[in-house]
C-alpha cells in the first residue's frame, strides 16, 4: 500500500513539476513570437532574437517589455497587418525613438508585464491603462508645453483646452495656479487615484477616463450626493455636485476628458520637456466693453453666468430657489460702484433660501486678488452693457450714483 502511494505521489509531483515548467515556458508572448517568426523568410529572420525584449529607460524610471509581442513595431518592412505584429503608424517613432521614450510614457499600460491583459493595464490594480482612441493625445501635454505646435497630431487635446477656456471652467477650478478656488484644483486630475472616486453611478469599467467623461456629460448622475432619506436620521443631507450640466455632446466631453487626463504633476527630466509658448501680448481692444468681454472670457465668468453672460447656468443654488445668475438684468439693479464692489468682494456664502437645508455650495467668489483693478472696471462696463436699460432707469454706463436707488 505504502509503496503504491509512494510511487503515485512521486509520479504526480513529477508530473506537476513538468506542467509548471511547461506553463512557464509556454507563456502568451512565446506564441506570438513563434507566429511572427513563422511569417518571416530565413533571410528576414537573421539578426532577430527571441525572448523577452525590453527597453530600460533610466531617466523615465520605466522598463517597457511591449516589444516582446509587438516585435515589428519599429520594423515596417517586416510588419504584418494584424496585431500585435503591426508597425507604428505615422512618423512618430522618428521623433520619439523607442530606445529613448519607450512605449508606456505615451501609451500607458503596464510596461513590465508580458501577458496581453496585464500589459495593456486593463486589469485591477493598475492605475495607467492603455490609452485607447483619442485619449492618447493626453500624453502629448506631458512634454509639449505649447500644444499649438502639435495641433494636427492632437486635435482633441487642443479642442479640450479651448472648451475649457470657452466654457469658463477657470471661474471655479484652478489649473497650475490660474483659476478660482470655488471647486477642486484640477492640476493633477490626470493622475487622481481611481480608488478615491465613487463609481457607483458610472457605467462601464472603473477607469478614471470613464468617470471624468461621464461626469462631464451628467455631473449629477455621477455625483448625486446624499438625500436626507438615504442618511441616518439627524444627518444633514449632502448636496450633489454643483458642477452645472453644460449639455456637452460626446465629442466635446471626450475632448475635455483628454485635457483633464493630460493634467499631471509628475516631473519628467528636463531633456524631454518642450517649454510652453511665450505669453502673447494682450490684444488692443476698440472699447472698454470689448476689453471687458475678454476679461469675462479669461477669468471664466461664463462658467456660471453663461456664454456672453446672457443665460445663467442652472446651478444647484438655482434648483433650491436661489438666483440663477444671469447678468442681463444686472444693469437695472446695480450701479457701477456697487457692482464693482460686488465683483471685488464676492458674496459668500450665498444666503440660504431654505434655512433648514445646508448652505448651498456655490457662491460668487471674491476677485479682487485675481483681476487687476483696471480690468474690473472694464468688466463692469461689459456687464452693464449687457442689459437693455428700462425706460426711465438711470443710464447703465453713466457716472457712479448713490446706492439708494437699488432694491
Amino acid at each position: 500500500m505504502k509503496r503504491i502511494l509512494f510511487l503515485l505521489f512521486t509520479l504526480i509531483l513529477t508530473g506537476l513539476f513538468g506542467v509548471v515548467v511547461w506553463m512557464d515556458t509556454a507563456r502568451e508572448w512565446t506564441g506570438y513570437q513563434r507566429q511572427f517568426f513563422h511569417s518571416l523568410t530565413r533571410a528576414e529572420r537573421k539578426g532577430l532574437a527571441g525572448g523577452i525584449h525590453q527597453v530600460a529607460l533610466e531617466d523615465l524610471r520605466r522598463i517597457d517589455r511591449c516589444t516582446t509581442c509587438h516585435v515589428a513595431i519599429d520594423k515596417p518592412q517586416l510588419a504584418l497587418a494584424e496585431q500585435p505584429f503591426t508597425a507604428h503608424p505615422g512618423t512618430y517613432l522618428e521623433s520619439h525613438p523607442p530606445e529613448q521614450f519607450g512605449c508606456t510614457v505615451c501609451h500607458g499600460g503596464q510596461g513590465l508585464a508580458t501577458d496581453t491583459k496585464a500589459a495593456h493595464g486593463e486589469v485591477k490594480h493598475w492605475e495607467e491603462p492603455l490609452l485607447r482612441g483619442p485619449l492618447i493625445q493626453s500624453s502629448c501635454y506631458k512634454c509639449h508645453g505649447d500644444v499649438r505646435e502639435i495641433e494636427p497630431h492632437a486635435p482633441r487635446l487642443v479642442q479640450g483646452m479651448t472648451s475649457y477656456k470657452q466654457l469658463g471652467c477657470a471661474g471655479c477650478h484652478t489649473v497650475n495656479g490660474f483659476g478660482q478656488n470655488v471647486s477642486v484644483d484640477l492640476s493633477d486630475m490626470g493622475e487622481k487615484p481611481w480608488q478615491l472616486l465613487d463609481f457607483t453611478f458610472v457605467h462601464g469599467e472603473e477607469r478614471l477616463s470613464q468617470w471624468v467623461e461621464q461626469h462631464f456629460q451628467e455631473p449629477r448622475r455621477v455625483t448625486p450626493g446624499f438625500r436626507a432619506q438615504e442618511l441616518p436620521p439627524g444627518e444633514e443631507e449632502i448636496y450633489p455636485t454643483f458642477m452645472p450640466n453644460y449639455g456637452l455632446n460626446e465629442e466635446q466631453a471626450r475632448a475635455l476628458t483628454v485635457y483633464m487626463l493630460s493634467l499631471k504633476s509628475q516631473h519628467l527630466p528636463a531633456a524631454y520637456v518642450h517649454p510652453p509658448a511665450p505669453q502673447e501680448p494682450e490684444p488692443v481692444y476698440a472699447s472698454s466693453v470689448e476689453a471687458g468681454k475678454a476679461v469675462f472670457q479669461k477669468f471664466g465668468c461664463a462658467g456660471c453666468h453663461g456664454l456672453d453672460g446672457v443665460g445663467g447656468r442652472r446651478s444647484w443654488n438655482a434648483w433650491l430657489g436661489d438666483e440663477a445668475p444671469s447678468l442681463v438684468p444686472v444693469a437695472h439693479y446695480y450701479d457701477r460702484q456697487t457692482l464693482k464692489e460686488f465683483i471685488r468682494n464676492g458674496r459668500q456664502p450665498v444666503p440660504r433660501s431654505n434655512p433648514a437645508r445646508p448652505t448651498p455650495p456655490l457662491y460668487m467668489p471674491a476677485w479682487k486678488d485675481r483681476i487687476p483693478d483696471a480690468q474690473i472696471d472694464q468688466l463692469v462696463d461689459y456687464v452693464l452693457s449687457l442689459g437693455e436699460p428700462l425706460p426711465g432707469s438711470p443710464p447703465a454706463n453713466g457716472a457712479p450714483q448713490a446706492a439708494g436707488g437699488n432694491p
Binding site: F9, D24, L112, T114, A118, H125
Partner: protein
C-alpha cells in the same frame, strides 16, 4: 546477513571503494541493525528515536501536524532563499521586482505563489498542531516546558508571516502593516497613543517607531522587516525549533501504547508521504491561484476597508468593541500568556495520549455534545479557538467599507452610511459592573464552608452562596440599567433633543434592547414603565446570578484542587475571555461604548 548482492558488478565494485565507504557507514540491506544505523547514523534523522510505539504512528492521532509544520517551514526557507535572489528591499525596487517575478523570471511567479500560500498553510498547520496537542493532553507533565516553547514558535510563525507581508510593497502590504503598526502605537506606557503614556514618549521614540523604524511606513520599515523576515526571526525560529524537537525526543512521545516498531521505515516513510502530499497540494494551489498583488504602495491612498493579514483580523475585528490597547496589545498578550500557563495550571493528570471522549448531555431542552473527560479544559480551550476563528471570519467576509457589516458575497457600497449612537456608562457604575462581574468568580473554600455549617446550620453555605451570587447578579443589572435609564447624556448636556442616555439610546438602531425598552416605557406611562425597568433589572440580575450559582459547586471544587494562585489565574483568564463576549453583547444590545473611561489618560475599557 543479507542475500548475495544482485546489483551489477560495477556498482558492487564501487560500493567497496573508499569513496563510497567514506560517505555511507552501513549497507542498505533491511536488517534490524541497519534500520537502527539509518536513524542514529544520520544527522537529519537522528532527532527521531530509534523505535516508537505503534499507536503513535496512527495518522488519526497526530494528523502529522507537527512534522508538517516543520516541513512547510523548510519549504518556505527554500522558496524564500530563491526569492531573495530577485528581491531588493527598497521602495523603488521592491514592487518592480514583484512584477519581474511574475512576468520575466523563469518560474518566478510560481515560486512567489508557493511561498505565499505555504506561509498561510504554515499558520494554519501550526494552529491545528497546537489544538491537537491540547486535545490529546500532550502538554501535561513532563511536557509543560515544550508546550511553552511551542507557543513561542506559534508567535514567531505569526511574526514571520507578518514581516513577510510588507515585502511586496503593494497597497495590501502597506496598509496591513500600517494597521499592525498602529496597534503598537497603542501599547500602554511606551506607545504614543496608549494609556499611561510616559511623559517623554513621542511618535519618534515609541513602540511603533521601534517596529517600523520611522514615523511612517517607508524605506526604513522595508529594510527592517526584510532583515527580520529573512534573518533575525528565522534564526530565532530555528533556535526554538531545535529546543522543541529535542524536547519531543527527550520527554518522550505522548502516545506510549502499542508494541514498539522501528522508526525506519515505519515513521520515516509516513513522514515522507505526508510531505509529498502537502507538496502536491501546494503545487496545485500555486498553479491555480496567483499570490495577491495590488497597486504599488501609496501612503496617500487608503483603501477602504484596510484589513490586516487574516490571522490578525480577529484582533482587528475586536477593535470595534475595544480600544486598540486592549484589542491590539493587552488581549494578544493575555492570549499568549494564558496559552503558556495552561500546562502549569491544569493539574488534572488524566487524558494524556487520547482524544477526550465525547457524550451527550441534556440541559433543559438542549442536547449538548460535550467532552466527558476534562470537560472544563476542553470546552474553554475550544471555545477560545472557535471565538478566534469566528472573529477572523467576520473580519474577513463580513466587513466592508467603513468596517460596516455586509453578508458574505453581498456587494459593497461606498455610499452606505450608518450612524451609530453609542454611550458610555458613568465610570462609577461601569467600575461597579466590572467588579461584580469578576467577583462572580469568587469560590467558597472548604474550610469556610465547614465553619459556616458549624455556626449557622448545615444549609447555611448553600444559602449564603445563593444570596452572594444572586446579589452580585442584581447589582450588575442595576449598575447596567439604572444609569442607562436615568443618567443624563454627558455628551450633549445642553441639547434639548437628547437629554438622557435613555432617550439617546431609545432612538438608536444599534441598541435594540434599549430602544425596545424606551418605546415600551413611553407606551406604558411612568408608573408601569418604572415597573418594567425594575422587572428587567430583576430578570437580568436573576439570570446572571443563576449562571454564577450554576457553577458554584464546580468553582468550589476547582478552588480546593488548585489552591488560590492557580485558581485566580484560571478564573481570571476565563472571566476575561467571557468578558470579551460580554462586551460584545453590551455593545450590540445596549449600545454601550465604554464601561470606564479616562480620556486624559487614553484609558478606556
Amino acid at each position: 546477513m543479507a542475500d548475495k548482492d544482485a546489483s551489477p558488478a560495477v556498482l558492487q565494485w564501487f560500493k567497496k571503494s573508499k569513496l563510497w565507504k567514506s560517505i555511507f557507514r552501513h549497507d542498505f540491506s533491511d536488517t534490524p541493525r541497519t534500520r537502527l544505523q539509518r536513524v542514529f547514523g544520520n544527522v537529519f534523522l537522528h532527532l527521531h528515536p530509534v523505535r516508537t510505539p505503534k499507536d503513535a504512528l496512527k495518522v488519526t492521532y497526530t494528523w502529522g501536524m507537527g512534522g508538517l509544520s516543520f516541513y512547510v517551514f523548510l519549504l518556505l526557507v527554500v522558496t524564500g532563499i530563491l526569492l531573495m535572489f530577485y528581491y531588493r528591499p527598497t521602495t523603488i525596487h521592491a514592487f518592480q521586482d514583484m512584477k519581474d517575478l511574475a512576468y520575466a523570471v523563469t518560474l518566478g511567479g510560481f515560486l512567489r505563489n508557493m511561498h505565499r500560500w505555504a506561509a498561510h498553510l504554515m499558520v494554519v498547520v501550526v494552529i491545528l498542531h497546537m489544538v491537537r496537542v491540547f486535545l490529546t493532553g500532550a502538554y501535561k507533565p513532563p511536557r509543560e516546558y515544550n508546550w511553552a516553547v511551542g507557543v513561542i514558535l506559534l508567535v514567531l510563525t505569526l511574526f514571520l508571516s507578518y514581516t513577510g507581508y510588507l515585502l511586496p510593497w503593494d497597497q495590501l502590504a502597506l496598509w496591513a502593516v500600517t494597521v499592525g503598526a498602529q496597534m503598537a502605537a497603542n501599547t500602554p506606557v511606551i506607545g504614543n497613543e496608549g494609556p499611561f503614556r510616559l511623559p517623554f514618549v513621542t511618535t519618534s521614540n515609541d513602540a511603533r517607531f521601534g517596529l517600523i523604524g520611522g514615523t511612517m511606513v517607508g524605506d526604513s520599515t522595508l529594510i527592517r522587516f526584510y532583515v527580520l523576515h529573512c534573518v533575525a526571526v528565522p534564526f530565532l525560529f530555528c533556535v526554538f525549533l531545535c529546543v522543541h524537537l529535542w524536547r519531543v525526543r527527550k520527554d518522550g512521545f505522548s502516545k506510549q501504547t502499542g508494541e514498539k516498531v522501528d522508526v525506519w521505515p515505519h515513521l520515516v516513510s509516513r513522514e515522507f508521504l505526508a510531505a509529498l502530499l502537502v507538496t502536491i497540494i501546494l503545487f496545485v494551489w500555486s498553479m491555480a491561484l496567483p499570490a495577491p498583488l495590488e497597486g504599488i504602495a501609496n501612503l496617500n491612498v487608503t483603501p477602504n476597508p484596510s484589513k490586516a493579514p487574516w490571522y490578525f483580523l480577529g484582533l482587528q475585528e475586536l477593535l470595534v468593541y475595544f480600544d486598540p490597547w486592549i484589542a491590539g496589545v493587552a488581549l494578544p498578550g493575555l492570549i499568549v500568556a494564558g496559552l503558556m500557563a495552561i500546562p502549569y495550571v491544569d493539574t488534572n493528570p488524566k487524558g494524556i495520549g487520547v482524544y477526550p471522549a465525547m457524550g451527550w448531555k441534556r440541559i433543559g431542552p438542549l442536547r449538548l455534545w460535550h467532552p466527558t473527560e476534562r470537560p472544563f479544559a476542553v470546552t474553554v480551550f475550544m471555545l477560545g479557538v472557535v471565538l478566534w476563528f469566528a472573529l477572523i471570519f467576520i473580519g474577513y467576509y463580513c466587513r466592508g467599507p467603513n468596517w460596516e457589516w455586509y453578508m458574505p458575497g453581498e456587494l459593497w457600497s461606498h455610499r452606505r452610511v450608518t450612524k451609530l449612537t453609542l454611550k458610555n456608562l458613568p465610570n462609577f457604575w461601569g467600575a461597579l459592573l466590572m467588579l461584580c462581574y469578576f467577583l462572580e468568580g469568587t469560590p467558597m473554600p472548604k474550610a469556610i464552608k465547614a465553619r459556616l455549617a458549624a455556626a449557622r446550620g448545615p444549609n447555611a453555605p448553600a444559602r449564603i452562596s445563593a444570596a452572594f451570587h444572586m446579589g452580585l447578579g442584581v447589582v450588575m443589572a442595576i449598575a447596567l440599567l439604572l444609569p442607562l435609564t436615568t443618567a443624563p447624556d454627558a455628551e450633549y448636556p445642553l441639547r434639548s433633543r437628547y437629554t438622557t442616555l435613555f432617550e439617546a439610546l431609545g432612538h438608536a438602531p444599534n441598541a435594540p434592547f434599549m430602544s425596545w425598552l424606551y418605546r415600551t416605557v413611553e407606551a406604558l406611562g411612568p408608573a408601569l414603565g418604572t415597573g418594567l425597568v425594575v422587572a428587567c433589572i430583576l430578570a437580568l440580575g436573576g439570570a446572571l446570578g443563576f449562571l454564577g450559582l450554576k457553577f458554584a459547586t464546580f468553582k468550589d471544587r476547582m478552588y480546593d484542587e488548585l489552591g488560590p494562585v492557580k485558581y485566580s489565574l484560571v478564573m481570571g483568564l476565563f472571566l476575561m475571555m467571557m468578558g470579551v463576549l460580554g462586551k460584545l453583547a453590551l455593545r450590540l444590545l445596549f449600545g454601550m461604548k465604554y464601561l470606564i473611561t479616562f480620556p486624559a489618560l487614553s484609558f478606556n475599557i
